[in-house]
Symmetry: D3
Subunit: 327 residues, 6 copies
C-alpha cells in the first residue's frame, strides 16, 4: 500500500458531507492520458511518482541545502489517492477531476491559521492542470503560473486538434489557452525551459503573449545561470499568488526519459531543483508534476526518482510560506 | 523505409479519383488506441508488426508445413501504410478509418478473376475491427467471424463504458456488440482462446450468444487438441464468408507480453499457427491482428515476431482461396 | 493506493486490542529477501503481485472455467498491507512476521459459521512460509503441505548455510526442514514441479522423505497429464487440512523470469492454473505465493500477471470450501 | 572471474609445447558473429552462457531425471576461456578458431582409458561449428551431425552470400554445406526443430539431402511426442560417432529471445532437454551451443539460463559414454 | 512507413537513367556495422534515427533559438531510404555505398540556383563516412572535416586491424586515415569531443596531425565554453567547404547509451546542439550521424531522440547556406 | 573469463603459505549486499564493473588528459577475482572479507622500492569499505578518507538499524562511524557530493563531525567549480595517507541508475573524473568503487561503463604516486 513519501492516506475524496481526518497539503493523483498527441502512458504517472517517492519519509527529511524538513513545519501533508477518472470520455473525466479538486480543497484545513488546504496534483497528462486551476481560482482568484515545460501549451484549440471537433480541442497542448480564456490566470505568467519547435513564429508567440506568458528558453540557463533564472521568475510573478506546473519534459530525456513528448537539450535535475528551491518565499497556492509515463522509464527508475524529488521541493515551498484564501 | 515483409508500398489511400498501382491483398495500419480500458500503446502496433516482419520476404518464403509460398500464388500483396487517424477524438478517428477501408477496397483488384482487393488490418486496439467489418459488409454482406481473443468483446456499450456517455460506449470491449447491431456479422460466429473473466455469467453469456457467437476456451485446446479446434472452427463457419480477427492477447503473455490487457494461461505461438494453417480452404475476405503494443515488448521482440508470423499465415489463407465479391 | 484486486484495505495489523473491520480471507505482504542464496529482490514481491492484480476486481470475476466468482461466495476478502519487516536482521524479521500472522489470524472472522480468518501471504523469499506455518499450526494443528517449487527446500540447516552459523542456517532452502522439526507439518506432504539438482541423492532424498514429503517432478506432468497430477496431489493429502505454497519458480523462466533462482524446464501458467483449479474441494487453511522478484520481470510484467492469477485461484479454493479451526 | 559452472580454468590455449593441467572435456568460447545475415550480437554468447551457468556447480548437480551427476563420472571437465578471434576479417578468424580446436584437442586426456579430450564450443554464430567439425574429423573421422535448429544451414554458398564474393559465401547459413564438401560429415545426419522458410522447395531440399541430412520439423514433435523424436534421432545416427550442434533458435523466442534470427513456433526448454537427455548412449565426440546473443535477452536472463542447461545436458551425454579416438 | 521527419520518400536510388522527383537535400540510410571493433548493432541505426524523428515535421518546426524553419527555406528535403548493403563482405558493401552516393548526388538538384544535391547519411558504423567523402570529393574537391567523436578514427590500417589482413584494415577506426591517403580531406580538419585513450601518444598524435587534424577534447568545453568551441571550429575550417561527421559517441553514454564504443565523460545534448547551431554560416556540403545502435537504447529512446535532433540541426545548417559545386 | 581491463588473473587469495605471481596493485571483488537498507543487487557489482571495463586494456590506455598510461608506470596491476563471501550471515561475511584483505595485502609487492601491495575493492555495498580500512590501518595506520557519496554514511549504529539488534547496526550507512570508533580514520576526512536528507540536523551533523568529516555538497560544485573542489579536497587531507571511497551514487541517476539508493541532483561523470584526475599527487593507499547494482542498469550499460572508468582513474592515481608502508 504505497503512498507518496509514506504520508498518511486520507479518504479526502469521500462524500463532502462525510467527515475525514484534517489536512493542509494534499497529494492527489490524476491518472489520465487520453488528452495526449504522442506517446500515451501518463495514466500510470501517479503510481510511478509514488513508487519514486518510497525512499522519502518525514522522519528522514532534513534537507542539506535548505536546512529544513518540509514535513515538520507545522502543516499536515497527506496523500488522497487517485481521483476516479474514466479513460473512455475526456469530457466526463475532466468533470470528475473538477469535482475531486472541489471536494478536497473544500474541506477545512488542519492548521488553525490557514483555512483552505492546498493540492499538489500528480498527473496524468498536462490537461489535468486545467481542473486544478479552476479549483485555485475558486479559492484564490486568478494566479500567476510558473510553467516549467519544453512546450508552451498555449496553442489555440482551433489550431491544435480543434479542426477536428470541439472535443479534440481540449488537450495537453491547449489547456493554458483555455485557462486564459476562462480567466483563471494572470498576465504575469511565465514559461521556463522552453525548447520545442512551434508551428508559426508570428502567430504562436503573439497568441502565447496574449495568454499572459513570457518565455525563458532552456538555453537561457546557460546565459543567466540558475540564480539569474530564479531572479527573473520571482520578478515576473512578484505580488501575485503563484501556481507551479512542472511538465517533467522540462528535464532532458537523459534525466526523464519516461514521458510522452520528450525533447532533447533540456535541463538537468540538479539545475531544476536548484531553481525550485530558490523560489522560496513565493505564495504558492497549488502545484503539479505531470506527463510522467513510467512505462518508458529506465530499469533504475531514473524519471520517477526525479519526479518525486520535484514533488518534495514543491511541498517544501508550500510549507515555507502559508497562504490564506480570499475571504 | 520499412514495409511489412518488404512488400511494395502503394499509395492506396490516395484520392479515389487518383490511379495507383493495382493490388489484391492490402496491408493497412490502423494506429489507434484511445478506445482501450487498460494499458495504452497499440497506436504503435502497425510499426511494431512491420518491424517484426523484416525477416520475411517473398523470395525466401517457401513454408515447410504448407509446402507453399504465400507471396507467389498469383496475387499481388502490398503495404498501404497507415490510415491517418487522430488520437484526440474517437468518433472522428473511426470515421477516418471507415474512409480508409472504403478507398482501399474500392479500387479494382490486380488479379483478373477476382474483383475486390482484400485487406489485412494491423491494429491498433480492437475497436479498429469495426470499420473493417463495415467495409467487408459493403462488398460481401454479413460474415462469420472467427475471433481469436482471451476476451469476448461483445459487451453491451450500456454496460462497458456506456454508463458514462455514448462516446465512451464505443470501445475495444464492445465493438462486436455494435457490429452485431449494425447487422455486419452472422449468427455463426465463434470465439477461440477465451479465458478472461466476465462480469456476470448469465447476462454476459446470453448477450454473447445473442450477438451470434459460440465459445472455445483456452483450455478447450487441452481437451480437443489443435486438430479438434480446427474442426470445430471450420464446422461453425461452414458455408459462409469468414473474417478472422486475431487479438494478440489470445497468446499467453510469455509469447506476447506486449499487449494492453494480457491474460495468463493462453496459447503458445506453435498452437496458434498450427490452428491458423489448419483453416486452409475457408473463404477469408478480411482479417486483422490487433492489440499489439510494442512498448511492452521484450528486448528480443518476442511479441512482434509472433504477430508478424500470424499476418504471414493470414496472407497464406487468403492466397490459397480467392473469393469473389457479391455482384 | 494499490491493493490486490482492488480489495478493501483493512488495518488488520493494528494493535490486537484495537477493533478493525472484520474479514475472512486476508492478503498479507511479507517484503523479505535476506534469506536467499542467489539473486535478491523478492522484497518487492508484494508490491509486484499487487501491481499484477490491478486488472482483477470483484465486479468482473466470473470465471469461465469454474463458473464461479471467488469474491462473491459469501466471504469477505481484504488486503492487510505489508508486515513491517527489517532487512537488517533475519532473526528479528521472522519474529516480526510471526507477530503479524498471530495478530491477523487472531481476530474473529466476519462470516458467522467460520471462526478463524485464513491468510494468503505474498512473499518475500520462501523463508516467509515458516511464520505462516507456525500460525496455521496454532489454529489448525499440523497440516499437509502441497509445495509447488522447482526446489525441494527441505535441506538441512547444517548443510545449507549452517556450516557458517546458526543464523545462516535459517533460509529459503531449509525452512521446510525447520517446519518439520517444529512439528508444523504432517508426513503426507508433497512437492510438485521439482527439477532443480541436488547435492547428494542418497542423503537429500532420504532427508526429504524424513521431512514428510513425496515428489512429483516437472516432467511427471508429461507422463500423467494435468488430471493425473491433480489426482496424485489430492490422494496424498486426503483427510488432512492443507497448506499450499507456490514458489513462482515452479513456472518456467519463460513464464516467470522475475525470480531469484529460476530453473529452466518448468511448467506453463496454463498447466499450473489448471492443476490449482482442479484441487477444488480440499480444506485449504493457508497459502502463499513467494519468490517473486519484480526487478527481473519483462517490460510487459509477465511474471507478476501470472503470480496474481495464482493468488486469484488460491482465493477461489478457500472460498469454495470453508474450514473451521480446531475448537 | 566467471567460468562455466565454476569449472576450473585451464590455459588450454597455451603454446602446444607448454604443459598445462590435464582435462577430458573442454568448454571453449568462440566469440564470433560477423558471419551472420541478421541481428548481430553472438560475439557475447560465451560470456552470456557462462553467466547463465553460475548457478550450476559440481557439488550440487545430482540430476533428478537421470539420477547422475555429470561432473562426478570420472572425467575432468574444464573451461578453456575464449579463443582469440578478430572481428575484422572472417577468413582470419576461422583460421584462429581452427588453431584453437587443434591445440585443445591435441593434448593428452586426463582420463587413462580415453585418449583425446572432447570439446563443447560456446558460440558465436553458427559458422563456428565449421572449425569444430574440422577438429573432430581429425581425431574421429567423418561424423553424423544431430543439428537442432529452426534453419537447415545447408544453403549453397553460391546462393546465400556467394553471389557477391567467395568471402561472403562462408557464413552461418552455409557452413553445413561446406562441411559436407570438405567430407567432414556423414550421410546419416539429421536436422531437428526445422521451421524457418526456404527459398525454393525443390532446390533447397534436394541440396539439403545431398549434404547428408533428413528433417524433423518443429511440429513433428506434436505428431510423434518427445519419445518419438528421440527414437528417430537415435535410429538415424545409429552406428556412427555423433556431433550435436544446438542453435539456440531451435527454442521458441518465448524461451530464447536472445538470438539473431529468432523463429516463432519453436520448442520449449522442457521439450528440448527431455530430448537431449533421451539421447543417452550415443557416442558424442563434440558439441556446441551457438547463436546466443545476450544483448536481446530478458532482464531475467531467460535465454542464457536455457543455454547453460543445454550445455549441462551435453556434458552429461559425454560423461555417460566415453569414446576413443581413431588410433 | 516511417521516413525521417515525415519527409517525402523519393526513390533516389533508382537506376541513373530513370527519372525521379527532384530534391536538394537527401537523407540516406547506410545500414552497415561489420566494420566495428566492439559492440555491433549500428546496422539498425537508420531505422532508429527515423524512429527518433517521428515527432519532427515541416509544419511544426519553427526553431525557438534560430528563429527559422529548416524545412521552409526553399530547399526540397527528402528521404531516399537505405542503400542496399550486404553484411557478408565489407569490400562489396563499401562499393555498394559508393554507388548509392554517386547515384543520389548525380541527379540534378530541384533548386534552380544550386546544382548538386547534398546528402546527410544515417550510419551505420563510422566506416560509412568513407564513401560519403569520396562522393563529396567528386563534386566539391577536398574538404575540411569537422569530426565530432570521442575517438580520433585516424588510426593507421597497418596498426588497427591491418596486421591481420588488408581486408581487416578498413574499419571504423581507420577510415579518416584512408580518406587522407585518398586525398579527400584538407589539412584544416578538426576533431571535437575527443576523450578515448590512445595506443601510443607519440605515434598516434603525430599520425593524426599528418592526416590533417587538430584536436579539441571533451574537457576543453569546460575551459572554453560552447562559444569558445564554436569560434575555434569556425577558425580552423575558415575558407574551405566543410563536411560534418557526428559519431553519436561524442555524447556522454547518459545521453547516448545506444552506441558501440561508448566513452564516459562526454558532452550533453544541450552542449552539442548549441555548438552545431553556432556553426551557422559555414559551407556545409555533406554530413552524417553514425554509430547509433538502437538495440542498446533506453526504453524511452534517449539516444535516437538525440540523434534525430542532430540531423535536424544539420539540415538547418545546409538550408541556411547554399553551396554550389565546382563547375 | 573476464578480468578488469584484461589484467592478468592472479590467485592472490590462495593460502598465505602458497606462492603466487607478484603484484603491486590488486583489484578485489567483494560481492556482498546484505548490509543494504533499500534496493539490493550490489552483490553483482564486481561482475558488472569488470564487464564495464572490457573496453579498457594496457596496450591502448594513453590518456589524452593526463598524458600517461596508468598500466605502464612500472607497477604490476592484477585482478584477484572475488573474495568468497556468504550471503547468509553478515558477521561471517565481513570476517571473510577481512581475511581476504589480509592475505592479499600481506604478500610482498612486485616492485622493488615499494613493499606492500595496494588494493582497489569493487563492491558490494558500502559496508565492504570497513574491512578495507582495517587492512590499510594494519599497514599504514589511520588514514584520511575522501568519501564520494550522496550520503554521509556515519550514522550511529544505535540509530540506523541498531535499535533492532547489534547485528543490524553494522550496515552501509554506519560503517564510517564504526571505522571511526575502531580508530581507523583520521579527523581530516571529507565527504564530497553529499545531497541525501538527514534525520536530524543537529545530531547527524555533530555526530558526523565527531567522526572526523567535513562536507562538500553536490551543489557546492556549482559554487566552486571542479578546480575549487579539487583544491578543498587536497587541502583537507594534506600531509596524510589517503583512502578514496567512491559510492557510485555520488553520480546522478542519469549517469548511474544502477545503484540501490539513487539520489537525484548528483554529479556528471565528466565532473567526477575531472576531480579524480585532479587529485594527482596524493598518497593513495587504498580505494574502492561500491554500490554498483547492475540489475538496474540501462541496456547500454551506462553505470558500469562509468564505474569502470572511475576504477581506471584510481589505478592512475596509485601508479602516479608510490607509497611505502609503515616500517
Ligand atoms: Mn511538455
Ligand atoms: Mn506540457
Ligand atoms: Mn483481448
Ligand atoms: Mn480484443
Ligand atoms: Mn524455488
Ligand atoms: Mn522455494
Ligand atoms: Mn538458426
Ligand atoms: Mn543455425
Ligand atoms: Mn567514436
Ligand atoms: Mn567514430
Ligand atoms: Mn550512497
Ligand atoms: Mn555509501
Amino acid at each position: 500500500i504505497t503512498t507518496f513519501a509514506h504520508l498518511p492516506y486520507v479518504h479526502c475524496l469521500a462524500n463532502e458531507s462525510e467527515d475525514v481526518e484534517k489536512y493542509d497539503i494534499a497529494i492527489l493523483g490524476a491518472p489520465f492520458d487520453t488528452g495526449v498527441t504522442a506517446r500515451p502512458g501518463a495514466r500510470f504517472g501517479p503510481t510511478g511518482v509514488r513508487q519514486g517517492g518510497i525512499r522519502i519519509g518525514a522522519e528522514f527529511s532534513w534537507n542539506v541545502y535548505t536546512g529544513r524538513n518540509a514535513f515538520l513545519e507545522g502543516f499536515r501533508v497527506v496523500d488522497c489517492g487517485d481521483a476516479p477518472l474514466t479513460f473512455l470520455d475526456n469530457t466526463i473525466a475532466l468533470k470528475q477531476l473538477d469535482k475531486a479538486h472541489k471536494v478536497i480543497s473544500g474541506r477545512k484545513a488542519n492548521h488553525t491559521g490557514y483555512t483552505v488546504p492546498r493540492i499538489i496534483t500528480l498527473g496524468g497528462d498536462h490537461t489535468t492542470t486545467l481542473p486544478a486551476l479552476r479549483s485555485t481560482y475558486h479559492h484564490w482568484g486568478a494566479v500567476s503560473v510558473i510553467h516549467f515545460d519544453s512546450h508552451i501549451d498555449t496553442w489555440d484549440p482551433e489550431v491544435l486538434g480543434g479542426g477536428l471537433s470541439h472535443y479534440a480541442g481540449v488537450n495537453h497542448g491547449t489547456f493554458l489557452h483555455i485557462a486564459h480564456e476562462e480567466g483563471l490566470i494572470k498576465n504575469t505568467s511565465i514559461h521556463a525551459g522552453i525548447r520545442a519547435p512551434m508551428a508559426n513564429k508570428k502567430y504562436d508567440l503573439k497568441n502565447d503573449k496574449a495568454c499572459g506568458f513570457s518565455i525563458l528558453t532552456a538555453r537561457d540557463l546557460d546565459k543567466f545561470g540558475t540564480q539569474g533564472i530564479i531572479d527573473k521568475l520571482k520578478e515576473r510573478v512578484a505580488g501575485s499568488k503563484v501556481y507551479i506546473s512542472v511538465d517533467i519534459d522540462v528535464l532532458d530525456p537523459s534525466y526523464a526519459p519516461a514521458t510522452g513528448t520528450a525533447e532533447v537539450g533540456g535541463w538537468t535535475t540538479r539545475e531544476l531543483l536548484t531553481i525550485l528551491d530558490g523560489l522560496d518565499g513565493i505564495e504558492l497556492i497549488g502545484a503539479d508534476v505531470v506527463e510522467v509515463a513510467p512505462i518508458y522509464d529506465n530499469p533504475g527508475e531514473t524519471t520517477v526518482l526525479a519526479a518525486a524529488e520535484v514533488v518534495h521541493s514543491l511541498i517544501a515551498l508550500m510549507a515555507a510560506t502559508p497562504v490564506n484564501a480570499l475571504s
